[in-house]
């Protein structure tokens, strides 16, 4: 069975990873793919959208004679993550109640 993950939750997952440390594109995709079956072309639009919403910013760091573009959480991003966590907690509680069926 495959349950879809909404765009908003995916935003939350990306923000949550970036809350722990800064990532570059490939590493972030790898990290997400260890838990979520997302395709490799999924992440770029997500990162772009979050950057446009000022939830994250980028900086370049030299590596092996080239640059790596790292993504870093902003203050707006931290707030957004808190909102998504809150929504998820409510949603999770409601679904647990329904699915696990101990309604007495």
């Amino acid at each position: 069975m495959k349950l879809p993950i909404s765009a908003e939750l995916l935003d939350g997952c990306v923000l949550a990873l970036l809350a722990q440390q800064d990532y570059y594109g490939y590493a972030l995709t790898q990290q997400l793919q260890t838990t979520l079956p997302i395709s490799e072309s999924t992440l770029y639009p997500v990162l772009r959208r979050l950057k446009k919403q000022n939830c994250l910013e980028t900086y370049d760091q030299p590596f092996n004679g080239r640059n790596r573009r790292y993504y870093r959480l902003t203050l707006d991003g931290t707030q957004r993550l808190a909102e998504i966590r809150q929504e998820w907690a409510t949603y999770k509680q409601a679904l647990d109640w329904l699915l696990e069926g101990n309604h007495d």
């Binding site: 069975m1 349950l3 765009a7 490939y26 490799e40 770029y44 772009r48 080239r66």
Partner: protein
């Protein structure tokens, strides 16, 4: 790798130069980090350049760009990009085809409307021009008649100018609705971006 990226670059021409650079930088870096060098390998991981480009373009077009004034041409272009995106995304085929046909039918209707408006306007402008010329030639022989034709010509020309404004705004409004509609469809129909396996 350069071949794949060159193809991607060509397909991303609708984007501004800085946006295109951003995409290409991301995927160039991605391929190097993922150690993907052969074209076939990259295709296996990211899909064909065409598919990747369409995904990117459609994602761009569903996000409102606040600094852009929506002209009919831009809206038309946007709806087109969303259509391409719909066709490229892995969605339930029958529904997708249905929506694509609806959007195409809408576009065709607006296109025909614009075409008709242009024809009608052209007819009015020719008529107005003729009346002006007739009026000018008559004005020395029969002053009152000449002035009458001249005035009628001016009235027709001004009327067609007003009509063109109305037609332009109506068409722009329809395309605006079309953009909103296709964006909504794209968001709804597009298969969510992954899933939990259980």
């Amino acid at each position: 790798m350069t071949d794949y990226l060159n193809q991607l670059e060509k397909l991303l021409t609708p984007l501004s130069a800085s946006e295109r650079d951003d995409v290409l930088t991301f995927y160039r870096e991605y391929c190097i980090d993922a150690d993907l060098t052969a074209d076939a390998e990259i295709r296996q991981h990211l899909g064909t350049p065409k598919k990747l480009a369409r995904q990117i373009l459609a994602d761009y077009s569903i996000q409102a760009e606040p600094d852009e004034t929506p002209t009919p041409q831009r809206n038309f272009h946007r709806i087109w990009l969303i259509l391409l995106g719909l066709l490229a995304s892995p969605i339930a085929i029958p529904i997708a085809v249905c929506f694509v046909l609806i959007i195409l039918a809408g576009l065709a209707t607006v296109g025909l409307l614009a075409f008709t408006a242009i024809l009608v306007l052209a007819a009015f402008i020719v008529l107005g021009g003729c009346l002006l010329i007739v009026g000018l030639t008559l004005v020395f022989k029969a002053f009152a008649v000449g002035i009458f034709y001249f005035g009628a010509g001016l009235a027709v020309l001004c009327g067609s100018y007003l009509l063109s404004l109305i037609a332009y705004n109506v068409i722009r409004g329809l395309l605006q609705i079309g953009v909103a509609f296709s964006q909504a469809i794209y968001r709804k129909v597009r298969k969510p971006q992954g899933g939990f396996n259980k």
